[in-house]
């Protein structure tokens, strides 16, 4: 069958809000005949197995054509952008930060004894968690955006950023990192520098322009005469990639030694603009090393510097030097850069490609004093109107949700675009600082069976983990963090693990022990015990049934052993049974009269010796064993008659009476008791010939007579 696996089998988003039209997915089976019947079965987690049966071909029933296919469909996979193995790496890597955060929450809750564990500094813990997770989603940030090292290399290709990481950082910046609240717009600038390339697949972007220009660079003779040179610089400047612009300006022909003297004035203008760009005031604590611009931590200082800088630009813009410059291309290009720095809307709009780029340019040059999230949403709407996107990118949907301060939309976007892993882990960020989100996400819903949205998403993620043989072992960590239904699902998950392989079995039992699921482990051990017993591994079967403390199965096994010991006393197999008797007897609390089996075995052994010869001494020993057995309260009543029946030879011993009067009376009493025990329910009749009872009675009566005479 041509199984065209799409990505890692992403099919159905688990818990997105239902849309009106139902998505219909094809299920390729490759059978030539029409399908007459379909059967379904859930495997562990989210994998559904579908059997498709073709109509039996009437023409040739024995034809070799296949008549049915069984296919497995994995539902609700993860983001296809990331490979399966990478997903597993992320899944395993996120366990520790997640578990640490949960334990911090519970210890904080225990300390404060208040219903809400949210401490003032709680966000710092969440931030640490967020950083740990973010480090899994991509290596260390190499260089933010494109750089120039080699004068001919404008944009260097660094590690491929992922949308997942971009989304995670967006959530962290808006929901968790309280320190950055004052300079949120600057963080967006940095964010765009890191992730602008992600939009390139569907839209034209500044990053894309830079990369294309760099490819052309080797072919360009006089760079300042090329309009693209100026266009790319204005674009880079509009989104605040100052270092790139400065480096590109220095590529200007007027810097070349042979031209410096003839183009002195032109070069002066280029340099002044470059200096102004590098002196741009930024409201942020510290700039990344290679970023240019002057950083200000306090807003008043920043405003002062900003006004001074702006006045310098205005002054330059109005200066007479421009007239003295011969190169028109350079003049126009430089003055356009000044317009961008002066916040000319039209210039910014022309320089940027994507609406997010325009958005960021607004913060840099039009609204430099914006702090906080207020009004950010309206501005985003405005930018989208100015640069309507041809299609919705998954990051923009998320960003609109965040800016609109709509937790539900954010959650739905995370779920739809990035899958269950993202939602399960991102809820921690969403609730980090917001009481409102906290209430929304932790509120219990009757319709969900009394669980919260947080729990629902954790359960959904655990289901995804459960469906893969290499990840199910970490599902318990998420399930045990679910207060209401996690344990229930964990029980179902553990119960559905195969017991055939000992390592899986031991792992299962270990998980049960860890989470105090004794009733599940005893169930599992019983399944294992029965499996081994039925498959002929009697020792392993008994061992696991003992571990499960399954008295009823062990009792039955003891019964089978009794028969076997009775039947095959002279056989080689007696040794095998003896081993099991040893095993059964090793428990301090013997189940189902197992202690008796030991004595019975001894009795049988002495009986065996008697049957060989005619030694009265051996017979006396056997009688001793019999009396011990009959006196022992652990001997089950159902064995009394078979014991006596087996001992008929001893009771009817030719030479002399082997039993004393009192011993004979004891045995007769037992027979009497037996007839009473038979009336009780649940009494099992031993399989003996019908005349067994009467022959035992006769023998005892005869023996009693002989014993009285002897004494």
């Amino acid at each position: 069958m041509p199984s065209d696996t799409v990505g890692n089998g992403v099919l159905v988003p688990f818990s997105g809000e239902g849309s009106d039209s139902v998505a219909v997915y094809p299920l390729n089976h490759g059978l030539s005949l029409p399908i007459s019947r379909v059967a379904i079965s859930w495997s562990r987690g989210n994998s559904l197995r579908v059997s498709l049966f073709a109509e039996p071909s009437a023409t040739s029933p024995d034809s070799q054509a296949s008549g049915a296919k069984v296919v497995e469909v994995k539902l609700s996979g993860e983001d296809p952008e990331i490979s399966d193995s990478n997903w597993r790496r992320i899944a395993y890597g996120s366990v520790t930060p997640f578990a640490l955060l949960q334990s911090r929450r519970s210890s904080l809750a225990a300390l404060s004894k208040s219903p809400s564990p949210y401490h003032v500094d709680w966000w710092e813990h969440v931030l640490e968690y967020s950083k740990d997770i973010a480090s899994l989603l991509g290596g260390p940030k190499l260089s933010p955006g494109p750089i120039i090292e080699d004068p001919n290399a404008i944009a260097t290709k660094c590690e491929e950023p992922t949308c997942l990481k971009a989304a995670w950082e967006l959530l962290e910046m808006f929901y968790v990192d309280k320190r950055s609240q004052a300079w949120l717009p600057e963080r967006l600038v940095d964010w765009l520098a890191d992730f602008d390339s992600l939009f390139t697949s569907t839209h034209e972007t500044i990053h894309g322009k830079l990369v294309n220009f760099q490819k052309e660079l080797v072919n360009i003779q006089v760079i300042e005469d090329d309009p693209r040179y100026w266009e790319v610089m204005s674009s880079a400047l509009s989104v605040g990639w100052l270092d790139i612009v400065v480096k590109m300006l220095r590529l200007h022909g007027s810097y070349q030694l042979d031209q410096l003297s003839s183009r002195e004035r032109e070069n002066g203008l280029v340099e002044v603009v470059a200096v102004l760009i590098s002196k741009m005031p930024r409201l942020r604590p510290e700039s990344a090393v290679e970023n240019l611009g002057e950083c200000f931590k306090s807003k008043p200082d920043f405003i002062k510097a900003w006004e001074k800088w702006r006045s310098q630009i205005t002054k330059l813009d109005c200066s007479p030097f421009w007239i003295q410059c011969d190169n028109q291309q350079t003049c126009d290009g430089l003055r356009n850069l000044l317009q961008i720095m002066l916040g000319n809307t039209e210039s910014l709009c022309t320089a940027t490609c994507h609406w997010i780029e325009l958005y960021v340019s607004h913060f840099l040059y039009i609204r430099p004093f914006t702090t906080g999230i207020e009004s950010m949403y309206n501005l985003a709407q405005k930018c989208m109107q100015l640069k309507p996107p041809s299609s919705i990118h998954k990051l923009t949907g998320l960003m609109i949700g965040i800016l609109g301060e709509n937790t539900e939309v954010v959650l739905a976007e995370c779920s739809r675009e990035f899958g269950p892993w993202m939602v399960a882990h991102a809820v921690e960020l969403l609730t980090a600082g917001s009481e409102q989100a906290e209430v929304l996400l932790h509120d219990e819903h009757y319709n969900l069976g009394g669980i919260s949205i947080v729990e629902l998403h954790r359960l959904a993620y655990a289901q995804v983990l459960s469906s893969h043989a290499l990840t199910w072992q970490i599902a318990p960590i998420y399930l045990t963090s679910c207060m209401k239904q996690g344990m229930g699902l964990l029980e179902n998950l553990l119960y559905r693990q195969s017991v055939q392989h000992n390592d899986t079995l031991l792992k299962n039992i270990e998980i049960c022990r860890l989470y105090e699921l004794d009733h599940i482990s005893s169930k599992i051990m019983k399944v294992a015990g029965v499996f081994h017993w039925k498959h002929g591994r009697k020792g392993a079967g008994v061992f696991w049934l003992q571990q499960a403390q399954d008295a009823s199965c062990l009792g039955r096994i003891a019964l089978q052993l009794f028969d076997a010991v009775g039947k095959s006393i002279s056989d080689e197999s007696f040794k095998q049974w003896e081993g099991i008797i040893e095993l059964l007897g090793s428990e301090s609390k013997p189940a189902g009269g197992l202690e008796f089996l030991h004595k019975y075995r001894d009795f049988k052994k002495s009986l065996q010796q008697v049957s060989g010869g005619k030694s009265t001494e051996a017979a006396r020993q056997a009688v001793g064993s019999l009396i011990l057995l009959m006196k022992n309260p652990s001997t089950p009543p159902r064995f009394w008659l078979p014991l006596l029946y087996d001992s008929l030879k001893l009771l009817n011993w030719k030479d002399c009476s082997l039993l004393t009067e009192s011993e004979t009376n004891l045995l007769l009493n037992k027979l009497q008791e037996l007839s009473l025990a038979r009336l009780r329910p649940h009494f099992t009749e031993p399989s003996l010939p019908p005349e067994a009872l009467s022959s035992v009675r006769l023998a005892l009566a005869t023996n009693l007579g002989r014993a009285i005479l002897d004494e």
Binding site: V38, V530, H535
Partner: protein
């Protein structure tokens, strides 16, 4: 789109996976039972044939696995209503093999469906017959699947006094409460597709310990739909809800029911129909809940596989559908 797991012979009519999804039993039109095993634990995709033999004269229409605590065993239901119980076992120093350990049902007294449940630490087998009767058998020896004792026999009606003509049932569907598997008393659900309206509606049966009999504790049909023929029933796993969820399929569509856990003064459990969904046109063949009891998968005469979920507001809807294509 989907990963192929196995190809089966021409004439295969039904299949069933065991509890852990590592063994598949498949039945054929000529009465052959085949067992396929996973080769090694991490990959479920590689299966090999470990047993193949004719166990019935007629077409095998359904295979049901016995709960794993009672060994590896299956019940095969043939089209003529005979059930064979087979078990994989080592006996008397013979090698491991599948052996028939019990047969019941006949062409005059056809078995339509069989299900197993564990109740009060013993295995129960419930069989639905074509005359509208239910029989509950109890396993006497946990290690011997040969010895079954008939515990009860009754009809799927609420009022035991109601009388009706000879019932002819085309199909029946039984579903045990999947959660009870231990020392508690278990309950099950049954619905018929018959010519007798009293028998049809899905009812929940519970064992009354005090009077040693099975009692109907809930009827899952609104008054005007009580006579509707039931195609399939499925009891959802409950991992912590304060109510049970049950799906019932009739010609009117799929109904999702909430079943309360606390009986009222008559001993009846409160029921509420929370959704009626349409999707499959005509007969619904099978309904299966996932292990969390949150997603229902169904198949039916339209040949589609459909998935159903409830949203955050408790509104049930179709989440996705799969259409077989060659």
């Amino acid at each position: 789109m989907a990963k192929e797991v196995l190809t089966l012979d021409n004439g295969t009519t039904c299949s069933s996976w065991n509890y852990s999804g590592t063994r598949l039993a498949a039945g054929s039109a000529d009465g052959t039972l085949s067992i396929f095993d996973s080769r090694d634990p991490p990959s479920s995709s590689s299966l090999r044939l470990s047993f193949k033999s004719k166990v019935h004269e007629g077409n095998i229409v359904k295979i049901v696995w016995v709960p794993p605590a009672y060994g590896d065993a299956v019940a095969c239901i043939s089209v003529d209503g005979i059930v064979s119980l087979l078990e994989e076992v080592v006996e008397d120093s013979q090698p491991l093999q599948w052996k028939i350990c019990k047969c019941f049902g006949s062409s005059s007294d056809k078995v339509l469906d069989v299900q197993f449940g564990i109740s009060l630490a013993s295995l129960k087998m419930v069989a639905a017959y074509s005359d509208g009767h239910m029989k509950v058998f109890e396993l006497l020896d946990p290690l011997e699947l040969k010895n079954w004792q008939l515990q009860a026999e009754f009809q799927n009606v609420i009022e035991s006094v109601s009388s009706f003509g000879k019932a002819v049932c085309l199909s029946a569907s039984i579903s045990f409460n999947p959660q009870n598997g231990g020392s508690q008393e278990s309950s099950f659900l049954v619905g018929f597709n018959s010519n007798t309206s009293e028998l049809n509606s899905a009812k929940v049966w519970e064992f009354d310990q005090a009077h040693q009999r099975w009692l109907p504790v809930a009827e899952l049909a609104v008054p005007e739909d009580k006579g509707d023929q039931v195609y399939a029933v499925a009891w959802a796993p409950n991992i912590g809800r304060t109510y049970e969820i049950i799906a019932v399929a009739t010609h009117k569509g799929l109904a999702i029911w909430h079943l309360g856990l606390n009986p009222d003064h008559d001993g009846r459990l409160p029921v509420e129909r929370v959704a009626v969904l349409s999707g499959h046109d005509g007969m619904v063949w099978q309904m299966e809940w996932d292990m969390s009891g949150m997603t229902l998968a169904t198949t039916g005469q339209d040949g589609m596989v459909r998935l159903w979920q409830s949203n955050l507001n408790g509104v049930w809807h179709q989440q996705a559908a799969f259409e077989p294509t060659s």
